[in-house]
Symmetry: C2
Subunit: 622 residues, 2 copies
Amino acid sequence: MPSVRFQPADVVAEVPAGTLIHEAALRAGILDLELPCGGEGSCGLCQVQVEGRDTSALACQTKIVSDIVVHLPDRSRTGARVLGDSHSLIDPSLLPDRERLTPLYRHRRLTVPPASIEEHYSDWTRLTRELGRNGGPAPITSELTVLRQLAQAVRAADGDITAAVEESATGLHVREVQPGHVPGHALGLAIDIGTTTVAVQLVDLDDGSLLATQTSYNMQIRRGADVISRIDYARTPERLQELRTLVLETINGLIAQMATATPIEPCDIHAAFVAGNTTMIHLLLGLPPRYIRESPYVPTVNSVPELRAQDVGLNIDPQAIIACAPGVGSYVGGDITSGLLCTDLSTNQADVFLFMDIGTNGEIVIGNADWMVACACSAGPAFEGAGIKCGMRAAEGAIERVSIGDDGEQLDFSVIGGGKPAGICGSGLISLLGELFRHGVVDRSGRFFNSPGTGRIVQHESRRAFRLATGQQNRTGKDLVITEADLENLIRTKAAIYAACSLVLENVGLTWEAVARVYIAGGFGRYMRIADAVFIGMLPDLPLERFRYIGNSSLTGAYIALLSREHRRRLAEIASRITYVDMSSNPQYMDSYVKALFLPHTDLEQFPTVAETFENRRRKAS
Amino acid sequence: MPSVRFQPADVVAEVPAGTLIHEAALRAGILDLELPCGGEGSCGLCQVQVEGRDTSALACQTKIVSDIVVHLPDRSRTGARVLGDSHSLIDPSLLPDRERLTPLYRHRRLTVPPASIEEHYSDWTRLTRELGRNGGPAPITSELTVLRQLAQAVRAADGDITAAVEESATGLHVREVQPGHVPGHALGLAIDIGTTTVAVQLVDLDDGSLLATQTSYNMQIRRGADVISRIDYARTPERLQELRTLVLETINGLIAQMATATPIEPCDIHAAFVAGNTTMIHLLLGLPPRYIRESPYVPTVNSVPELRAQDVGLNIDPQAIIACAPGVGSYVGGDITSGLLCTDLSTNQADVFLFMDIGTNGEIVIGNADWMVACACSAGPAFEGAGIKCGMRAAEGAIERVSIGDDGEQLDFSVIGGGKPAGICGSGLISLLGELFRHGVVDRSGRFFNSPGTGRIVQHESRRAFRLATGQQNRTGKDLVITEADLENLIRTKAAIYAACSLVLENVGLTWEAVARVYIAGGFGRYMRIADAVFIGMLPDLPLERFRYIGNSSLTGAYIALLSREHRRRLAEIASRITYVDMSSNPQYMDSYVKALFLPHTDLEQFPTVAETFENRRRKAS
């Protein structure tokens, strides 16, 4: 069997002749060689260098026939950046009341009164009466093991007991009863499964405190960058199982990291609340996602019944209760309903809000406390670095913000983590596009003007490009450029988002002016300068104070739902109240989209402050 | 180690010196050496003959110190008699409607409509909408394995599916979904666990038909004849486990027998409805029964949450749903609520009924559709043959009815199964006592008159006795007698039942005359001549047409509840509506009991027809 040595990791695998390089990498334990297009050979992002060959090879297409040495791409371009929790970004009044938590699982200290001749209720009846005080949900169920402990437990310490109780949508479930006070933590997880990023929070269910946050890339990325390519990849049971295993490895890896970093045991984690888009939830649970993308686009399930950790495959207490945020449809999932818990839709009855969760897929919800309409648009992975020549995700080495001098030549940028840049991430791209447009380097269609005599306009692979850094100023040693093709890509992405927002507003008979609040959610948004996004026409031209950035609201929502019965109830209500509008089948969508393929938009009246900037510049120039 | 050989089975066990004979018998696989007193050495019913010794030995007390041969008692005295089902004894209108069964588990053939762009409900939502039609209970839950099959299943045959659905008190639960019509039976069990007898019925859940009935003695009998001795026996976790194993062996043995006799596989049995008294249910589930008999007499649980077969220990589909009839208290269990399903309490709103379930323990319920009061009395095991010199249960060889000629000498009896008698069972004892009293052989206190010159009055172990058969007329080769001590025992038993009934009537301010219907339930009652029971003062002196014998109503009730949602709901309602009255702590009870310690009663006015018989005889004699 040929052997293959991977560098710089310096690991070797022996594989049968004909094995693909990416499969050999998996066998060698290299888990981060990603296949954004799902191994179709179309995206070119799995390029590796094979020693002794002149050109690079695609790991997803190249078969190993003899002993070789393979050089993998620079890890820093795909490395994860651990983001802090974004709970602090939302209105504190939206978080559950710490004094009256009703988590999915908790240890409740109770006194079960003794029976008497007059009140000869069974042990179970006396226990359930105490559990049901203060309007707890019914019915109350239990297990044989608990019943076997019960007689002894309620008598050992004069009725003083600690009951481990799950509170699910279908009632209370008693997991354990022990006499007296039982020391030890009741721990839970809030889990957000994004197409790109997975975030897990370890929560003390007794007081709601956040013990740890860990995030990492979803290991499924190597099988496709977006939900569509993952659905396509999962077309056989074996591949579905592979994707399921990859996301489980991701989550279980994060749990293991938290267990190492904190004095906890994973078996003390008794509950998890999971938010994710419909495809991510299907892949986690091993449900075939195929029908999500086949007309009429229905998933197996939107409101997943509560499950057990051992069935799902999470490495925590095998009997831990696993709840999933309810979805609305194939393209508006539990990540959105969960995220909506982070808005004040419940307190401001009349005001109309617009909620945008911008990731590889963009989801938009408009409404108020009485009605809600949602749609999804395929924003594409451009803002996460894919399909962009020098793009990368918001990680170490990424340019996250750009400023261009009035001469169109002078240029400043900030790099995540400092030092030389390795690429440019979504917020950097928005910032760059805004600056290029603001300083007249590109026209309204995103093409470079012929006129400006900046030396940064270069030819790159037969198209014009703007050079941010030369090879010497760069970690990769190659020019860091943004090409006209990249700009077209970005404009398509921002147009998709704006068109979807505009159309959904039009559908409900409203204008942008009627929107009192715009919530922007997503890991993406963390580094996004709203003024830039308005300037390029991705966000509407509204007073900046109407925008509110709420970070990873899907994760924060999962944290809230983990801790509060009221919020779990509200989640179900939100999911049932949202009307899903399918944009892809709307004939107006293409029209709206085409109109948005300009900077900021075909119709300048929609962007008065941008128009004013132009007017000022024209006056100044003339 | 000494060896012990058991005869007539001719099996040998080697045991450590000091092992009790009954323990050695267990090791040798001999399971029917019973210890009615729980191994306390007080009942004397485990007598065995040790070869070479003159006197018999108690198996529960005698240690093995050297090699011995042990002769076990005649098996026919403890052999089981298979009783037919007694569903035919109850009013057919009380049975569930065969055309509209709603069993605990069933295969439902449904058409799940396809989704459309306009109605893009998930597969699960479309399925649950169909399941919920016609007012099915909510919520509807499921398992991951089902969700994984779902997308394929609802598409494979144009939405035509077979869903395996459990319908429990807490909603519907989908166990399996398959496309098209799934051949094969959905089978269920109705189980009645009596202190003495266990009965199991195999039921086709599709049409309610009864496929098989099997009964046997509860193997726990060897650890005590009544619930109190079993509770006492179960005082250590090991002994509790032993009793649990014994009843499971009993039930699983019956299931295995049914599987042999019919073309079914136990794994096709997906549901079981269990009725039993509170102690029997505790022992089945391994719940410590101790507090049932310690003041204030509360069980661990009356309404057992639904369980799975694998947790309970039944050898059927491991995931089969196991429901138990709800109990009322420590001494009024699910066998009684189940039995009440066999009465017309729901149709005759105003009429007062009295329900008596006579077994080793007697339970009494009085009421109508609006109110119900229950009490229990310790009838004792006399009617099941224990504590009676030549007593035995209603099995092969038992005298079940006796007629005495006017001369007090001539005697006829009928033997179950024909041939020579081996003993006398409860109905035979009632019949005999009635005849002895009717013909002036015994006085009103149950003592033999000195006067009558019948040769059947003999001395037996220093007390007087009535000889039914000589050793030659008998399978045992010894005289078959009833002693004055036996008669005292029987009178105590009938007095306990009558006193409890009278007192509970008095408690609710009624007289016997107000009782429109007396239901008599129990395997015991199958052979009981009601006129005899009235004559000795066990049953009230009411017109005979007011009595209705309903057989093993606990089993029939379990069969009904297995098949009908409405009856399961009614069971819960019955249990919640019954007020339990503790007789043992009622100071009037002893007074009422003492008054009933005469034949038929101290107060003859309560038995006018019996009094009239006496009057007629006196007139005739004078």
